[in-house]
Structure formats: structure tokens, C-alpha cells
Amino acid sequence: MSDPGRAQVDSLGEMPPPEPAAAAPTGLPVGQAKSMFQLGFEVFIQNKLAIVGMVVLVLAVVFCFVGPLFYHTDQVTVNLLTTNLPPGPGHPLGTDETGYDQLGRLMVGGQASLTIGFAAAIIATIVGTVWGAIAGFFGGLVDAVMMRVVDAILSIPILFLLLFIVTIVRPSIPVMIFVLGLTAWLVPARLVRGESLTLRVREYVQAVRVMGGSSWHSVLRHIMPNVIGTVIVNATFQVADAILLIAYLGYLGLGISPPATDWGGMLSNGTAFIFTNYWWLIYPPGILIIVVVVAVNLVGDGLRDSVEVRLQRR
């Protein structure tokens, strides 16, 4: 290595193992080689908006998943004696039209929205990555067929497709995860396929072939790891998109069935009372949707910068 203080990173993020410190000449200052993760992390924490987004996201997760441990409400049994109460003692954010405590309901609804958002994004990312990597690597007829499938499904408006599916199957959290995941994998598939097309002609991939390595080995060990940056960034946007889509369905009354709920469903219910000024049924879920979606986008921005090689300090 010509410069022991700088890890040599190729343009694709491939990085040779750092030399052991013991091998460095005695008496000279030795810099510890930084991993790609460390470099990326340094870039990420310099992005203040990304940090804000991450903090908001963590707070949202804590609010939704830890909050119910300390703020106990009955989100199953309807109580028609306490409907539409304004914020006050006992109900800091009031109650809804069926008597559910609104603050507790925001926690329960947030659990559904976040769970569906993240889980659907994971499914979409995994399916899309594998699909795109295979299509891009093998090329030819395989690529043509696989990408035409993607094009065909992309040609159907996603909301229409979702509406069609949720009218056939009864909406629940697992169903919504599955449905959203299986309709959101198309974008990552196209992105990964594009990256794969450039990666498959790289020397190290060709070297694998020359040495008799299998195609699957190339896909799994070289193609997919090298598109991981693109995949992670896209996954964050997938989360935001999934949260919005579940909000859309909830708003249209086709979300999760009561007593379960999500923020979109809560917003939909709230708008029925807009003329009676029950603001506590409208603002909180609406604001939470916006804040969390913005936060996820900011984190995505930060991650994109952090995996961008040119921004990493070497």
C-alpha cells in the first residue's frame, strides 16, 4: 500500500482487507484502515437533516411500541359512553367516535403503519434485489422475460391493484405486508437490474467465470453485495411509500379492519367529523403520517450520501 493511512477503495466499494498493524514499520504513525461502514457512518452523521430524521424515526418507534407499555388503554372494546370527548383529563388527546382513547389509538395505529411500512419494504427489497440481480446478470432472454414481467405489472396503477386485492382478501396486518411487499418490488428490481448490467462485465466478475465459478456464486457474492448501497437507499423510500400506501387504503376505508387501525384509517374516520371541529381526530394522525414519511425520506437522503464513495473521506 502506498499510503497506509488511507484504505484503498475501488469505485465499486470493493475493499481489500487492511494490513495488520503489526506489519507497519516500527516508529511510524499507523492509521487504522476504516471499513466502508465506518466511512459511510461518518458521512451520515455529518448530515444534520438525516440525524434529525433518524431521531424522529426512533421517537416514533418508541412512541408506538414502548408507549403502550406505560400508557394503558383499551383499544379493543368499544365504549359508546365516551365517544368524541375533547382532550382533557384521562384522555390527553380525546376519544374517537367509538370511545377509543385517541392517544392510545395513535400508538396502536402507528404500530400497524410502521410494521407494515418496514416489513413491506423488506419484502419488496429482497424480492426486487434478487429479481433484478438475476435479470441483469444473466441478460439475454432471461433478462427480457423477467423485465417484461416487471414492465407489465408496472403498467397497472399500483393503487388500483391494491384496491383490487384488498377487496378479495380480508385486510389484516400480515395481508397488507404481503400485498404491499409484492406490489412494491418492481422499482428495486429495475434499479438492481441496471446496476447488475454494469457489474457483470467488471473484471472481478469475469475472473470468477474464468476460474470456473458458478453464475450463482457471481450473483450472490459479487453482484448483490455491490448493489447494496443502492438497495439500502431505495429501501428507505420503500418504507415511506408503503406507509403512504397503507394510509391511502385506510383513508379509502379499505385498510385494516377494526378494532385494529392504522394512521390512514384514523385520518379517514376523523374527516367524518370535520364539520363538528373534532380536530383531535384529524391533526394527530395526519401530522404523524407526514412527520414519519419526511423522517424516512431524510434518513434515505443521508444513507444515499453515505454510500456515495465520492463523499467519503479517505
Binding site: 455529518q46 448530515n47 379493543v76 372494546t77 368499544v78 359508546l80 359512553l81 365517544t83 368524541n84 375533547p86 367516535e97 367509538t98 370511545g99 380480508r170 422499482v187 434499479l191 443502492t230 437507499v233 431505495n234 423510500f237 415511506a240 411509500d241 403512504l244 394510509a247 376505508g253 379492519s257 377494526p258 378494532p259 374527516t271 367524518a272 367529523f273 370535520i274 364539520f275 363538528t276 371541529n277 373534532y278 380536530w279 384529524i282 391533526y283 395526519g286 401530522i287 403520517i289 407526514i290 414519511v293 419526511v294 425520506n297 434515505g300 437522503d301 444515499r304 450520501d305 456515495e308 463523499l311
Partner: protein
């Protein structure tokens, strides 16, 4: 730090979406002037009555007319079809609802009240001098057309009950063009025969006696010729886009003619210049407009310059009115600047049917203890006071509890199955079920002995059901959520799904066999007693009746119903209603005020409303 925009498309899309949500939220909240506490809204905008010659009427949410021929199958036998379309064009022989009272209207009927003779077995009807819009006179042959059609296609008419009209007619004659004489198989209660038998007749014009365009049929004179006419008229009635242009439907005897018809519910009527009735329309147009939700309707109504007769969604009332007031008494009106509030309560009962013939869950529904358990988790007082803001009354049996009448029995007044989770649990545990509160109860003791689950119910059978309900009305949505929550406390899992009104009514129909798969269906409004104006319920509960949606059958009830048709007085009615209230052929639910009608200030004639749901816009004027 320079940022790369490698996924700018995605980011742009996401931010656009989020941005649109923000805009929507701002727009929504901008519509209301919140100050932190729920207050009544005040109307703004111009006063209605944009044109003194036109009245615009808001259809109930998600409820649009879709069947023009008065001979309706059950799937299309709805208030929206009869009251909001058919009655305006084609008048039934007897009109019910007289100046807001639940009685026959002589002035609006096409015939004089029937004369009974021969010990009550001969019924003579004299038609008045009415004309069809094609210039022909209303004659006895028009009545025979309906009668023959009913005889030939009785299975396809929703108000048909086996053994009753026309099965109970021994002979019929038309001694002159204005007289029809029916001879019945036995003497019937005269009130019942008028209110529930003759009331179903709608004379049909000769122009409808066709088997194809330009091909004359002979149903009016020959019952065997009715099948072909029926097929033709059904096909025409299914062709919604042609309603306003089809020459068949332009032949009317009512006060209105169709000018425009859109299948989405936008309908325009114009006066029938040859209408022979006592009050001719003074408006030049009567327009019906549809809404998918009551919120959507209220937004327009609140604007104040489009709808002349609309309705106020109960969720838009800031507070419930006094519980001591009747369902037809008005409380505070948030739109008083432009409208007069005139609550419209119909003479009917509200319920939702359960499908006794469902091959899977039918055996469970046939068990009285299960129906008792399910009825016991319906929190009628809670729904009425919260969601309905005290606009409505409980339903406890087949006779409406409002208005007060001698027909209401003490059993109904006392409610045999009041809301009680504990009682519901006991009904199940006493009959072989392991109740899993919050989960799903299972049958632990299959068998037919006392204390067992009952015939056809296997060990491990679960109380897990699908319930489709009409979307668009917040009151019904809240009531369904309440029911689901209460049922879950005794391990009855109700999978509730919203659907348009016409979808629910089209699904919850009598059926049998493996394809009879619907389980519970709630179109929200139950039944208004029309055209069976006397609440003896034969159309609804008698075995094989056309509107017996759940295929309920009980020979003992059948006999009691038949008794009400042949005997007058309250004793026989109370015997029937007590038995039915206890036997639960359906699940009773709150009977909401049909419409919190808002009538534009200055519009005359619209505040007195028909208790059987008919509208008379020919009597409206500014």
C-alpha cells in the same frame, strides 16, 4: 455537501405524495374553524332555491336507483327504487301516507277504497279516471296485466308470499273497463287485504305488454303469455342508460316523466303534463343527485346553494338531542340559516338478516340460543344515544315501537333481549360452547341433547362469521364497530366489511345449496312497511316469502302470521309479534330516523313527509 440525486424520481414522487397530504390536511382543516371545542357549525353561502322552478333532492349515501320496472325482484326491492324513481312515474293502485300519517290516501290513490261483499270474499275495486301519458285510459285491463304477471312470475316478485296474493284469489273479473272484482278463497281481514294485498298492485300500461321492440304481447289477457313479456321488461329494466330514452318508460301515469337518467344516480324528472291526479307539479324540474357518503352530501348541503332537500348526517350534530324526544322531533339545527330541519321517521323496523341456509354456518344460526346471544350483544341504547344522537328508537320485534299504537305488545316494549354481555355468554356456555372472550368461541359439546351445541354443529366449530354492511353512513359504521367489539367479548368473531348499499341488498337474498354462501348482510335500514303497510310481516318472515332474505322458517310463526291475515284486532297481532320477537328471525338493531331532512327555507310542501318513504315533489313549490 453536494447531494447526488440518483433516485430523484423516487424522491420526487414521495415528496409529491407527502406534499399532497399536507395540502389535503390543510384544506380539510381550513374548512372548519376549530377553536378547540366541539361546536355546532354555522352555514355559509347563498340561500338555496337557486331557481324557483327546480328542486334538487339528495339521494341517501351510496344508494342510487337501479330498477325502473315496479315489478321488482328482492335484489332491487328498495326504497331508492320505489320511492325515488318508480312511484314518481308509475303510481300504485293505492297510495299510502296521508298528510304524514300512516294510512291510505284516497286522493292520491288510483282507485276508490274496495268494497267487500259475499261475507268478505268478494272485493270490488272501482278505478278512477286516470290517463296514461300516451293518451290511453287507466283501465281494469292494466290491473289484470299486473295480476297475470304476478301469477306467472310470482317467484320473481319480492313482495310475494306463498299462499297469498295472487294464490288466494279464486277468480277475477272485469265487468267493465273501470271495475275489477276479486274473489278470495276465504274471508280476510279487510284492513290487511287492502294494506298488504291490494297495496302491491301497480297497474301497468298496455304499452308495456311487449315481447320485443315492436312486438305485442298478450300478458294483460293471457297469463301464459307473460313469461316472454317478463323477459323483455326485465332486460329493459336492466338497461339503465336507456331509461330516459326508452319509449316504454315514457308511458307514465304519475306526476313526473324521466328527462335524464344516469346510472350513477343523477336523475332529472320533468312534469307529466297529462297527469290526472289532484296536484300537478308546479316545479319545472325535479333533480336527484347521488352521494357516496353522507359527508360528501353535507359538504354540498353546507354550501347552501345547490340542494333544496337534503339531509344532515348525525355525526355533524355537535350534541345529542334530548333522549325524551321522539325520533321525528327536531333538535338543534346547525344549518338553520338556510334550512328547516324536518326529521323523517319511517314506519318500519330495522334488522339485519342471517342466512339460515348457509351450508357452513346455517346450523349455528338455526339455534335459538345463538341468535339470543347475538341479539344480546347489540347495544341499541348505546348506539342510539351516541352515534344516532337520539334520532331513532330500538327495534325489539316486528311492530315498530314508534309511533305508539295499540299494536305494540308489552313484550316488545320490555325488550326480551336487552343488551347484556353476561346474558350472551350464558346463552353460549349453557349450550355446549367454550367461550373465549377476545378470541373465538368453539363448540365443546356437539350433539343434539339439551346443553349440546345442536344438530349439524361439529366439535370445534367456531363462532366466526362474515358480516357485510352498507358503507357511507357513519352511524351504521359505528354501530357495526360496536357490535363487533361487543360480540368479541363472548368470542363471536364478526368480520365486518363495508360495501355499497346495492351490493349488500343484492347479496343478502334467499338462496339454497352450496352456492348460498353469504352469512350476514346489513344494508342499514331494515324494512319499511311498504307495500305491506300493515305490519303482519308475511313478506318477511313467512316460509318462502319473497323478502325473507335469510330463508327463516318456523311453522308455528307461519300459522300465527296466517291468523293475522284472517282475523282483525290486536290480540292476534300481539300473539304473532310476541312469538316473533322471542324467536329472532333476524337480528334487531336500532331503527334510525330515516333522514334528518333539511328543507330549504322558502320551499313549501316538503316538510310533511310520507311515513312509508315516498316523496311527492309535485307538491313542492317556492
Amino acid at each position: 455537501m453536494k447531494k447526488l440525486r440518483t433516485h430523484g424520481g423516487i424522491r420526487k414522487k414521495t415528496f409529491r405524495i407527502f406534499g399532497s397530504i399536507a395540502v389535503v390536511l390543510l384544506a380539510l382543516t381550513g374548512c372548519s374553524s376549530g377553536n378547540g371545542s366541539p361546536t355546532a357549525t354555522t352555514a355559509s353561502g347563498n340561500a338555496p332555491g337557486k331557481s324557483a322552478d327546480t328542486a334538487t333532492f339528495a339521494d341517501p349515501p351510496n344508494t342510487v336507483p337501479n330498477w325502473i320496472w315496479p315489478f321488482s325482484p328482492l335484489a332491487n326491492f328498495s326504497v331508492s327504487n320505489s320511492s325515488d324513481l318508480q312511484y314518481l312515474l308509475f303510481r300504485p293502485m293505492y297510495w299510502f301516507g296521508n298528510n304524514g300519517k300512516a294510512e291510505v290516501s284516497d286522493s292520491l290513490s288510483l282507485a276508490a277504497e274496495p268494497v267487500y261483499s259475499n261475507g268478505g270474499k268478494t272485493v270490488t275495486i272501482k278505478l278512477k279516471d286516470y290517463k296514461w301519458s300516451d293518451g290511453t285510459s287507466l283501465t281494469a285491463q292494466n290491473v289484470m296485466f299486473w295480476y297475470n304477471m304476478l301469477k306467472a312470475e310470482k317467484k320473481n316478485y319480492a313482495a310475494y308470499t306463498p299462499g297469498q296474493f295472487p294464490d288466494n284469489i279464486v277468480s277475477v273479473s272485469t265487468p267493465d273497463p273501470k271495475t275489477v272484482v276479486f274473489t278470495t278463497d276465504k274471508a280476510y281481514s279487510q284492513q290487511w287485504f287492502l294494506y298488504n294485498q291490494l297495496s302491491t298492485i301497480t297497474p301497468m300500461p298496455d304499452a308495456w305488454d311487449m315481447t320485443a321492440a315492436g312486438t305485442k304481447g298478450d300478458c294483460a289477457t293471457n297469463e301464459s303469455g307473460c313469461a316472454a313479456v317478463y323477459a323483455y321488461l326485465v332486460a329493459q329494466s336492466k338497461d339503465l342508460p336507456t331509461y330516459a330514452t326508452n319509449p316504454l318508460w315514457q308511458v307514465v301515469d304519475g306526476p313526473w316523466k324521466l328527462s335524464k337518467f344516469n346510472a350513477d344516480g343523477n336523475i332529472t324528472f320533468v312534469p307529466n303534463p297529462t297527469y290526472s291526479g289532484p296536484v300537478k307539479a308546479s316545479l319545472k324540474q325535479f333533480i336527484e343527485v347521488p352521494f357516496t357518503t353522507d359527508d360528501a352530501e353535507f359538504q354540498v348541503l353546507r354550501g347552501g346553494n345547490t340542494i333544496d332537500v337534503g339531509y344532515l348526517p348525525t355525526q355533524d350534530l355537535a350534541a345529542a338531542k334530548s333522549a325524551t324526544t321522539g325520533p321525528a322531533e327536531a333538535g338543534p339545527n346547525p344549518l338553520s340559516a338556510n334550512y328547516q330541519l324536518a326529521p323523517w321517521f319511517l314506519y318500519g323496523v330495522n334488522y339485519f338478516p342471517i342466512n339460515f341456509n348457509n351450508p357452513t354456518v346455517g346450523p349455528i344460526f338455526k339455534q335459538l340460543y345463538f341468535r339470543q346471544a347475538l341479539q344480546s350483544v347489540v347495544d341499541q341504547p348505546g348506539v342510539l344515544s351516541s352515534a344516532a344522537k337520539n334520532y331513532g328508537v330500538q327495534t325489539t320485534g316486528p311492530v315498530p315501537l314508534y309511533p305508539d299504537s295499540p299494536l305494540i305488545s308489552q313484550t316488545e316494549k320490555n325488550n326480551p333481549y336487552p343488551f347484556s354481555i353476561a346474558a350472551a355468554k350464558k346463552y353460549l356456555t349453557d349450550n355446549g360452547w367454550t367461550v373465549n372472550a377476545g378470541g373465538t368461541s368453539v363448540c365443546a359439546k356437539p350433539g343434539t341433547a339439551a346443553g349440546d351445541c345442536g344438530p349439524g354443529i361439529a366439535a370445534g366449530a367456531k363462532l366466526d362469521f362474515n358480516l357485510q354492511y352498507a358503507s357511507g353512513q357513519q352511524t351504521i359504521t359505528t354501530a357495526m364497530q360496536s357490535l363487533k367489539s361487543n360480540a368479541a367479548q363472548v368470542g363471536i368473531t364478526l368480520n365486518i366489511t363495508p360495501a355499497p348499499f346495492n351490493t349488500v341488498t343484492g347479496t343478502a337474498i334467499p338462496c339454497s345449496g352450496k352456492t348460498c354462501t353469504w352469512q350476514m348482510g346489513n344494508w342499514g335500514g331494515g324494512w319499511v312497511y311498504a307495500p305491506d303497510y300493515y305490519p303482519t310481516g308475511e313478506v318477511l318472515w313467512e316460509t318462502g316469502a319473497g323478502s325473507n332474505s335469510g330463508s327463516y322458517t318456523n311453522p308455528a310463526i307461519d300459522k300465527l302470521i296466517i291468523d293475522t291475515t284472517t282475523q282483525s284486532g290486536t290480540a292476534v297481532m300481539r300473539a304473532y309479534e310476541d312469538a316473533l320477537a322471542k324467536d329472532l328471525p333476524v337480528i334487531w338493531q336500532p331503527n334510525y330516523t330515516y333522514s334528518l331532512t333539511e328543507v330549504a327555507n322558502g320551499l313549501q310542501g316538503a316538510t310533511v313527509q310520507n311515513p312509508y318513504s315516498a316523496i311527492n315533489p309535485e307538491e313542492w313549490h317556492y
